[in-house]
Amino acid sequence: MTGVETSEAVEAEQKTSLRVVVNGTAYERVVPVRRLLSDFLRHDLGLTGTHVGCEHGVCGCCTVLVDGRATRSCLTLACQVDGLSLTTIEGVKSADGGLHPVQQALSDCHGLQCGYCTPGFVISILEVLNSPDELDLSEEGVREMISGNLCRCTGYQGIVDAVRQAAVAMGRDGDAGKGAPA
């Protein structure tokens, strides 16, 4: 639907320059100030692995890492990440270039079906598994961990199992024994 006021049409002309590092590559671009980060990644940089599911920050499909923090790219303007470093799904891989343990686990545990929400889940899970914080890998803990992302296909069970498998693979399974599936 049309949410843009007429007066903003004039502002559409305003542009700004932007320097950003995405998946290790430096980019410099001139963008309209109102360009969303999700649109910038997808349309200006061609990194279409980041998906847009709701454009109001609820579904989590568009989640990317901004300086290591999981961030909704649909609620962020491109100009807000000037000078920062981003990781998108295209930059997620294991040391040898193959699937990252989180990606591998999602496949092993059937944690994806249509795949549309999947990049957002991978990024959200990565943020937690990469953080120095203590993990709660109980059933409830893992469900809480991924509760910022919506999936309409899987019913989440495979994703929960994948988080645990990935935590083990990444050596983050100090608490993995708690509440493991029967």
């Binding site: 843009v4 559409a12 295209e90 989440y156």
Partner: protein, 797 residues
Amino acid sequence: MTSAPSFGTRVRRNEDERLLTGRGRYIDDITLEGALAVAFVRSPMASARIISVDTSQAMALEGVHLVVTCDDIEHLDTEMPLLIPDPSLTSPRTQRPLARGEVFYVGQTVAMVVADDRYVAEDAADLVEVVYEPLEAVVGVDRAVASGARSVHEGVAGNVAAHSRQRSGEPDAAFASAEHVTSVTVRVERSSAAPMEPRAVAARWDSVLGELTVWDGTQAPISVRGGLASLFGLDEHRVRVVAPDVGGGFGQKVLLFYPDEVLVPWAAVKLNRPVKYIEDRQENFLGSTHERLQVHHIELAATRDGLVTGLRDSFLHDTGAFIPYGLAVAQVAAGQIAGSYRIPNISVDFKAVYTNTVPVTPYRGCGRPHACFAIERAMDVLADDLGIDRFEIRRRNFIGTEEFPYDRPGLIFADGQPVSYDGGDYARALSLLEEALDPPAFRAEQEAARSEGRYLGLGLACYVEGTGLGPYEGGHVKVHPITGKVYVNTGLSSQGQGHATSFAQIAADEVGVSPSDVVVVEGDTGEFDWGVATFASRAAVVSGNAIRKAALIVREQIVHQASQMFEAAPEDIVIEEGKVFVQGVESRALTLAEVATMSNPLRYAFNKAAQSATQFTPAARRDGAALAEGAHPGLEATDYFSPASTTWAYGVHGAIVEVDPATFEVKVKRYVCVHDCGRMINPMIVEGQVIGGVAQGMGGAFYELLDYDAEGNLRNASLMEFLMPYATEVPRVEISHLETPSPRNPLGVKGVGEAGTIPVAAAFASAVEDALAPLLHGHLLDVPLSPTSLHAATRAG
């Protein structure tokens, strides 16, 4: 000697790696050089006359290429097709791509803007001035059929689009002689499939070749192709429709045509530029179809010991402002209203009713969850009325294993065929659920908890699912001479069901390769263009069997070709893991690429396979024609499967819940599914379908309700307010599989796509009712079960 079959095993999915690494290709991921973007002007009113539309300001905005109303869209300014006509559908109304003179629901498309990008297109859409004269909105099926209600469409009295009546047996006699009659009225609320990827369409017109390519996030690319060709007056082979990766469908993407599906191609031709329309989330709620609202008044005639002798159901089906998909949802509900039970005498009537709301088409379950909720709630109430245990009353009424095929003469299913269940062991499924939940132990726990002021409940619901509907699908199998990979095409498209793996398993086993060496290509009319669509849990049954048939022919071709090459008897040829050899002489094995090369009497020693293949028969030396009469080059076959009748999956779900008596928050302690979908191709994928279905069913049971106000405004058209379950709302699902092979197709499979969703609302209503029994006044007969509705149910006098 053959390799172990992959059928029935947990093969990891062929599609995963691409999707996990950001290399999926959904419509908006496809780069079309110079593509323009579409935004729509949508009606803010549920019912109004359009007095005037002024597009001049919008047209003047820089970056705008086209602003059109119904006056500008030439041959498209017409009512769109009615997909499935029916004699009882006496007043069908379908929508025009852009409203002419009147609007019928909030969100209806009134004008289309095409601009440099979506930002400019939305700016321009805001500049289109539409003057409306509001009319009284008709919202809610009850209001729509009440006497004196305004007609949504002129000339449709009482807002009844269709009135259907079906009878099986002698229902009147059954009720006349009944020892007991239980009557309930149940209501299942309006909901949305809400796939994670909203709908999307892109189109490109090639003016040199006169060819139109349309990328459409649809479940029915071949049907869309046929429809577009006819609408645009093009030969079918000049229109290519591609459904690439599609981010969930659940039925919402099987309708054709949505306005954008015809207007985007039209604009691409008109402007001779690629054009894209990417629906946003709010538009998905306001412009893409809804489902679920039905109100059933169901009665069961029974003996005192709980044998159900008759069923009478009369229901209202809210079809929204238009009925483009015909009566499928209501007909499916009617056809399965008696569920898993013998019930020999049935009367089922329904009215499909117009309201000033978004049109209704099938959503995962398509009438089955509604029917299941009606019959299962009625069975619970009957059990309570007669003082019989809820498990026991079901057991007494199940169709027995010896009674299959079990027909319900007089009832017609959505495929136009008589309702005829093909098999299963319903009582065994119930026993497995009992073993898992241990009702006696639970009752003790429940009693102990109640003494502490805690409310635990156990509930269950049985279901059947007519799956694998015709008319037909095809399979094309070809061994590629360069790579030796086996290519499989079918006319469906996938929205996450794992076709690229399940179909690969079927072909792999028949041909003799590993599933990872099978490349499944679907959703592209340029690759295969006979078929119907992905819906009604039919892909595995219909396409799966077609692919098997084609693969068997290709296997014969391989054996024939190899027997000539080896100068060996066909029965001595072995195909195993992509190698072809004479029994006992594996050291001289050929690759499939070599055999495929030899099957094409054109000589080209460009690669290793061709070089080694040509050594067998020098091209210069042959007797007669290179291809025998009737033969064709290559290892390739196409075949079709057309099921004579629906195949019926079934199962039972059970839940144990705890309800907080102050907040009415429901905590799910156990959730158990026992299901039978015939032979399973890939149990991992089956479980994914079931568990995902349960999560969607939970949405309908507790959270999801499209909230229209009396003026027809949808008050919760966002994911902020339409509450889909997160991981924290969905329990771990325990699954038991039964496998009764379907006698109605050679693979013995039944569909499973919708099964998980069907009984969930009924099972939870049963469980929550059991938990709150000491506090409730009456039964829980409406879903979703919100804290508010539960609170009210404990207060009602």
